[in-house]
């Protein structure tokens, strides 16, 4: 089993430049593991297979050992960041093909999803108008409330004591008139 795993086809080096997360991985074997995950068939044992493809383990490593290695790799935050980065790149790279397929769908009236394809395109070209009622509640901060309360109290006490409040509470616009 182990010997068979070592004879896997080597992973192609990515032609595109690696992103920051991929570059941040500690070794080339980590980067190879990330790339291998996109090449192996998804499902049970995919991570172990990807780890073997990337050169992890030894010819004598047991399946259990390889499982532990693959699990640790897959749960490494650095590897997960690199996977997220690769996901974004590959989704973007797939977009032209998706658009081409959608165009073919729209052009083919006999296709069973023809109407759905047209709706998808129209939704993106002329989105259904929706009205959002947004209620904005402004709550004065505690300091603002305190300031207003202090000013109010000063004015009340100054009036009670028969002394001028000595605080200009006239709004700026009013004062400039």
């Amino acid at each position: 089993m182990a010997n068979q795993a070592r004879n896997l086809v080597p992973i192609d080096e990515a032609e595109a430049e690696d992103g920051p997360a991929m570059k941040a991985l500690p070794t080339d074997r980590h980067r190879l593991f990330v790339r291998a995950l996109y090449q192996v068939k998804p499902g049970h044992g995919a991570q172990v297979k990807a780890a073997r493809m990337a050169g992890w383990g030894s010819p004598t490593s047991t399946p259990k050992t390889m499982s532990v290695i693959a699990s640790r790799l897959a749960h490494d935050p650095r590897v997960q960041a690199a996977l997220y980065e690769e996901d974004q790149k590959r989704i973007r790279a797939t977009a032209p093909r998706a658009i081409k397929a959608l165009a073919a769908l729209v052009e083919d009236p006999k296709h069973r999803d023809h109407a759905r394809g047209i709706a998808m395109v129209l939704d993106r070209l002329h989105p259904i108008e929706t009205t959002h009622k947004v209620t904005v509640e402004h709550e004065a901060s505690s300091s603002m409330k305190a300031t207003a309360e202090v000013m109010e109290r000063i004015l009340a006490l100054a009036a009670r004591a028969g002394v001028p409040a000595m605080i200009d509470v006239t709004p700026q616009k009013e004062a400039s008139r």
Binding site: R153, L157, A158, A161, G162, V163, M166, I167
Partner: protein, 136 residues
């Protein structure tokens, strides 16, 4: 202490020479004298325009709280801010202990000095809740 009849007569004679204002001052409990002087001082301090709002509020709260007993709201409102000379006199007292300050402020001639500088102190005494000793 035995007070002779002669001394009583002399005291009565001296009292008969009092003016109305002197009588009001003499019959106002001395504890209120210091309060009135302090009111005039605080009102003078409140004339500062650059005073922080929190400090101004503290002074105003003090003024509000000083209304008690015979010292009516009208009396507090009647007190005018202290003049420069009165403020200098108050400043001179600042280094004294609170006991010495109170002892000093109970002296007749000291309070008379403040009243001469700020006649509103006497007017305020006349507005006490239970006016005492005002000549008929």
């Amino acid at each position: 202490m035995i007070i002779s009849t002669r001394e009583i007569e002399e005291h009565a004679l001296w009292q008969s020479t009092w003016s109305d204002d002197e009588r009001v001052l003499a019959h106002t409990p001395p504890g209120y004298w210091y309060d009135l002087v302090n009111i005039s001082m605080v009102k003078r301090l409140l004339q500062a325009r650059d005073m922080r709002a929190d400090l101004r509020l503290r002074f105003l709260e003090w003024l509000n709280g000083i209304v008690h007993g015979n010292l009516s709201l009208d009396a507090m409102q009647t007190v005018a801010p202290a003049c420069d000379t009165a403020m200098q006199m108050i400043d001179e007292m600042q280094h004294l202990s609170i006991d010495d300050k109170c002892r000093l402020m109970r002296k007749w001639d000291i309070m008379a000095g403040f009243c001469n500088l700020n006649p509103s102190l006497i007017e305020a005494m006349k507005l006490f809740r239970h006016p005492i000793g005002v000549a008929a």
